[in-house]
């Protein structure tokens, strides 16, 4: 996908605001769009992303839900079969585990099974995150579970523009779309396109160009990678950084082309490494760019164990820009001294900030 031109009237906003704006636009544009979820009408409005919607659109279109994820996910699918276009919000991906049956067996398959007659235009916003001692059952990033399921589309925005554009694209899509939002991306400020500007649900986006190594990141890890890439650029390392954006359907053409040039690939995603997003990107890229590979592709992901709550441990759990930079440096064979200086610089730039909060304004708990 080509870079989007800077649109006239683009505004700077947080991704969370961008999500709210997109939802409001979608609801204004189409009466069939409605929002449902636990907390969508409460004073916090799902991290601010649903605030004000009830006031504007009324009770029938902004539905507070009981704590019953499988039930109301199934009800959303039923409503969609009758022509509605629900936007569902699960405040943490762990709650969605209760709704897997409806999502995998009904939402994902109805269109196919019915020979194309049924449509299930639902958008499912799932929130993932890290930090503030959420612990093992409130901090997972389980996108691989959804990405594996044919019939779903799965997207992960890493910036405000995508948070808005992909959500609009999802609502406009006639099938089920899972949007996985990282809580720390909610805080990311960036330009958004004005008005009704849905983005197609396809393709990674190239963020930087370079000849030495291709890096493919997802969601919040894109932001960590950007820092690493900037630091490496000073040392003359050219990184071609992609934000994967769309996990399913997965398009790797641009990545393959890039690796044909760089010969090197590193994937950096938000989930567990094993059987994760990086493995698929690597398998496809190796198939497409085998002859041009100069080194074995590498992955960075979460370790193969649950998230410990204690900040003393979780600071060693989550990869950040220094680790990314170190791996890239090794991949391209940067001298150890240069590498260590870059890593130290990146680590230093964080020193005054706690590592378990998304933004200095954050006071915990989630």
């Amino acid at each position: 996908m080509p870079e989007l031109a800077r649109a006239e009237g683009a505004r700077i906003t947080s991704a969370a605001d961008a999500i709210r704006e997109a939802t409001e636009l979608a609801m204004a544009q189409d009466e069939c769009v409605f929002v449902m979820g636990e907390g969508v009408t409460d004073p916090k409005g799902v991290f601010g992303t649903t605030l004000g919607l009830r006031e504007r659109f009324g009770e029938d279109r902004v539905l507070e839900m009981p704590v019953a994820e499988n039930g109301w996910t199934g009800a959303a699918i039923g409503a969609a079969l009758a022509g509605q276009r629900p936007i569902l919000v699960h405040q943490r991906v762990e709650f969605t585990l209760l709704a897997m049956e409806q999502l995998v067996n009904n939402a994902a398959k109805m269109h196919y099974v019915s020979g194309g007659k049924h449509r299930v235009p639902i958008t499912i916003r799932l929130i993932v995150g890290r930090g503030w001692g959420q612990g093992p059952a409130h901090s997972q990033s389980l996108e691989a579970l959804f990405a594996h399921v044919p019939g779903l589309k799965v997207v992960m925005p890493a910036c405000a523009r995508d948070a808005k554009g992909l959500l609009l694209g999802a609502v406009a899509d006639d099938g089920p779309v899972v949007i996985i939002e990282h809580r720390w991306v909610h805080y990311a400020q960036g330009e958004i396109d004005p008005g009704w500007a849905p983005l197609p649900l396809q393709g990674p986006r190239k963020l930087t160009s370079g000849d030495d190594v291709t890096v493919v990141a997802t969601s919040y890890m894109t932001l960590e990678c950007q820092q690493a890439v900037a630091a490496l650029a000073d040392a003359g390392v050219g990184v071609e950084l992609f934000d994967l954006r769309v996990l399913r359907p997965l398009g790797v053409e641009a990545i393959v082309q890039s690796v044909r040039k760089t010969g090197r690939l590193l994937t950096v995603d938000t989930g567990h490494a094993s059987y994760g997003i990086g493995a698929e990107v690597i398998a496809r890229t190796v198939a497409g760019a085998f002859d041009d590979l100069r080194a074995a592709p590498q992955r960075i992901g979460l370790p193969e164990h649950p998230t410990p709550s204690s900040a003393a441990l979780s600071q060693h759990y989550y990869p950040r820009s220094p680790q990314v930079a170190a791996r890239i440096a090794e991949l391209v064979g940067l001298p150890a001294g240069t590498r260590d200086a870059i890593v130290a610089r990146l680590a230093h730039s964080r020193e005054d900030q706690p590592l378990d909060i998304p933004h200095p304004s954050f006071k915990g708990p989630f």
């Binding site: 199934g74 009758a82 022509g83 409806q102 019915s114 299930v120 899509d173 006639d174």
Partner: protein, 337 residues
């Protein structure tokens, strides 16, 4: 009622006055479902219907009685045991038989098999093979009806086994809280596969499930099509008025094996004599006898009905067997809408 479980005191005869024309229609609909199922059972061993089949022989009154009250634009969702519901709601017979045969002309183009029957024109929105999985879908249809103010109601068919699934509880709570126009139609046939009710649920009236969700329940003889119809009329009227959901508990019995075309009494999971006792309470025979007694019908009229149905069934099987299979190249079509 041979259910070992307590029946609620409110279980009353829900028959309302039904004219002879409608009685005839109910009888005809039940006979039609029965004959179709019998024909499936007969043809199944030839191996042309290469998918599981869950027959409803013995349970026709619930499907027919409930759907008799629904209008065409009302909607239903059903289960693995969906043939009777699909047919009673007006689903296309040819599309169903073709689907069982895996043909391109099937209601799913052959992709779904017998557990995925649907016919949007008739308001049969979905049948799904995961127990309980269709229940929230029906609640969602009712939610859409309320939001779109289209005046339709939804009915959800499910079994005694499904009552054990958490999602049914969640669906009932949601429907009651939002006062959605939906009727929960529970067919208690005493078994989940080979497992009897007592092994799966404590002894108590199933209608208490409705109490727990603040909705009315009617517990009825599910082999009496007039009772089913009467109770359903009550529930549907209520739903259409905007007064929210109700539960119907229809006690009935499955006469053939859980899955497949055969009798399975030899397996010994049914208490001795139970099957024959229930077979004697055949819902079709019951209405038929009553109508014969009252001279509302005679043998020759019955013969005509049977002949019409037989012709329709023959045609459906002939058409299905003649229909092409889906072409190989279509296999990857329609993944994303």
């Amino acid at each position: 009622m041979s259910s070992p479980h307590e029946m609620a005191p409110r279980a009353t005869m829900m028959q309302t006055v039904v004219g002879p024309d409608e009685r005839l229609a109910l009888l005809t609909a039940m006979i039609r479902v029965r004959r179709i199922e019998e024909r499936i059972a007969k043809e199944y061993p030839r191996g042309q219907m290469r998918c599981p089949v869950h027959l409803s022989i013995g349970q026709e009154a619930a499907a027919v009685g409930a759907c008799a009250v629904l209008r065409r634009h009302d909607k239903i969702t059903s289960t693995h045991r969906c043939h009777a519901h699909y047919l009673a709601k007006g689903g296309d017979l040819q599309a169903m038989i073709a689907e069982l045969h895996g043909r391109a002309s099937g209601c799913c183009g052959g992709r779904g098999g017998s557990m995925h029957l649907f016919d949007d024109d008739a308001g049969v929105v979905a049948s799904v093979p995961i127990v309980g999985g269709n229940v929230p879908l029906g609640v969602g249809l009712a939610l859409a009806a309320k939001q779109r103010r289209d005046g339709s109601v939804a009915a959800v068919f499910f079994g005694d086994g499904a009552l054990e699934e958490g999602v049914v509880h969640e669906s009932a709570n949601l429907a009651a809280t939002l006062r959605l126009p939906v009727v929960f139609v529970l067919e208690n046939n005493l078994y989940s596969v080979y497992t009897r009710l007592e092994q799966r649920q404590p002894p108590r009236s199933m209608s208490r499930f409705a109490d727990a969700h603040g909705m009315p329940a009617m517990e009825i003889d599910g082999n009496d099509v007039l009772s089913v119809r009467g109770a359903m009329l009550h529930a549907v009227t209520r739903a259409r008025r905007g007064d929210g959901p109700s539960l119907l508990v229809a006690h009935t019995y499955r006469q053939l094996e859980h899955c497949g075309p055969a009798d399975d009494d030899h397996l010994g999971y049914r208490p001795a004599g139970e099957l024959s006792r229930w077979a004697a309470r055949c819902p079709i025979q019951r209405l038929c006898n009553e109508m014969l007694e009252h001279d509302e019908i005679d043998e020759s009229a019955l013969d005509t009905i049977e002949a019409t149905i037989a012709r329709e069934i023959d045609e459906a099987f002939v058409a299905a067997l003649a229909a092409p299979f889906p072409a190989a190249h279509t296999i990857a079509e329609a993944i994303h809408a």
